[in-house]
């Protein structure tokens, strides 16, 4: 019986690394199955660390690394882990990866890691990581799971980037810490919008992004 079940899996082995299906795994999270605006996963950190573009990019990369590797590892051991204790196993794998990321950030970009404060640790409970393990990695082979992790991490980073660009530009007139709005404009009486930097505006910006996305992509509309 098992030999029969093995056969189609072995046939799949010859599938090219970036077949059409795998590329779809990479591109879908940008629109049709975006982790933030469609799957509603990982909202907490998306809102809190989008005041500056630099923080958002570092955070997005960290989440991508953790999602990709936790998907890979869980997919490799999915047949040996009893179903009852899988949540604990997932938490341990994810927490170990997050510790690695946290220590790396502290070593190389200490100032950003200080600004991110608790949110690096909170990648552990970021629903994207657990959600993708549960929904994808436990039922798929390691390579597609890895791709799925990268795709979802980048889809998450994409929204983070848009929100952060918007908030940094209107909130402090900068992009990546570089002043974009010239001093002359300030001299004429332009003032940065302080509200954009405050937490409530992040929610409203994400709400607006969802609005724009759903009016372009009408199949996502809820009733």
């Amino acid at each position: 019986m098992s030999a029969v079940a093995e056969a189609p899996v072995a046939a799949k082995e010859s599938e090219p690394l970036f077949s059409k299906k795998n590329r779809k795994l990479l591109s879908d999270p940008f629109n049709d199955s975006n982790p933030i605006t469609v799957q509603v996963l990982g909202i907490c950190s998306a809102l809190a660390i989008t005041v500056q573009v630099k923080q958002a990019v570092v955070m997005a990369l960290s989440v991508t690394v953790v999602t990709a590797f936790s998907n890979l590892i869980m997919s490799m051991i999915r047949n040996f882990v009893p179903n009852r204790i899988r949540i604990i196993v997932q938490l341990v794998v994810v927490a170990a990866l997050v510790i690695l990321v946290d220590q790396t950030l502290k070593a190389f970009v200490y100032d950003v890691s200080k600004q991110l404060s608790v949110f690096v640790g909170l990648i552990i409970t970021n629903c994207i990581v657990m959600g993708r393990i549960e929904a994808f990695a436990l039922a798929n082979r390691p390579w597609p799971s890895f791709i799925d992790g990268i795709g979802n991490g980048l889809g998450y980073g994409f929204i983070l980037f848009i929100v952060a660009v918007f908030r940094e530009f209107f909130g402090s007139g900068k992009f990546w810490g570089i002043q974009l709005i010239p001093q002359a404009v300030y001299d004429m009486g332009y003032v940065n919008n302080g509200l954009v930097i405050l937490p409530p505006m992040a929610l409203i910006v994400v709400g607006t992004i969802i609005w724009v996305q759903r009016s372009r992509n009408t199949k996502l509309i809820e009733n």
Partner: protein, 204 residues
């Protein structure tokens, strides 16, 4: 007085949802009716109030640099703080498991009301967030950490019950189609957060 101040501050000013967006996932997913929102809110208060003091003790007597000094002078130089993430999440996950089993055994009626939410809480960011804020802010004693945890829990419960009540009424209003559901919830939460900002600067 300082306790009361921390309590008020963690409910209103440093609200888990409106100031730090912690626990947003379950906040958005379980806020369709007031009744279930209330159930989850109570469960979060309870789990936060229990795990944060527990993590405080672990942090201060096991993990911190020099925290093991009570074992003997040769342990004074040990610093296990890099393990704190894995320790905190292990405490949270095992505690929720324990609570779930205890509630199922001793209060089946409560279990059938809360049952589905309890396992969800293990991955609610606000619980781990509470532990991490406790670590970052260096509260002076375990009582302070407990008060902070209870305040945060109450603040979270307040937020989810409020949004659930609004969403129940929202069902009868004519929201533009692409904004229905998730979009409008985000925008309303944003407006509520602006309202909560008026508490800023209050200190007793």
């Amino acid at each position: 007085m300082e306790y009361l101040n921390t309590f008020i501050k963690s409910i209103f000013i440093e609200n888990m949802i409106f100031a730090y967006f912690l626990g947003m996932c379950s906040y958005l997913a379980v806020s369709k009716t007031v009744k279930t929102a209330m159930g989850l809110g109570v469960a979060v208060i309870f789990v936060l109030g229990a795990t944060v003091p527990l993590n405080y003790l672990i942090e201060n007597y096991l993990m911190k640099a020099g925290a093991l000094a009570w074992l003997g002078p040769q342990f004074a130089a040990v610093d296990l703080s890099f393990l704190s993430f894995i320790m905190f999440i292990a405490v949270v996950a095992s505690f929720t498991q324990l609570v779930e089993m205890a509630v199922e055994k001793f209060a089946p009626a409560l279990y059938s009301q809360l049952g589905i939410f309890l396992p969800l809480i293990a991955v609610n960011c606000s619980i781990l967030g509470g532990a991490l804020f406790m670590q970052e802010r260096q509260y002076s004693d375990v009582g302070m950490a407990t008060i902070f945890a209870l305040g945060s829990g109450v603040g979270w419960a307040l937020a989810i019950v409020a949004i659930a009540a609004i969403r129940e009424k929202l069902r009868y209003s004519n929201v533009p189609a692409p904004l229905r559901g998730l979009g409008i919830t985000f925008i309303i939460t944003g407006l509520m957060a602006i309202a909560f900002m008026s508490f800023m600067g209050i200190s007793l």
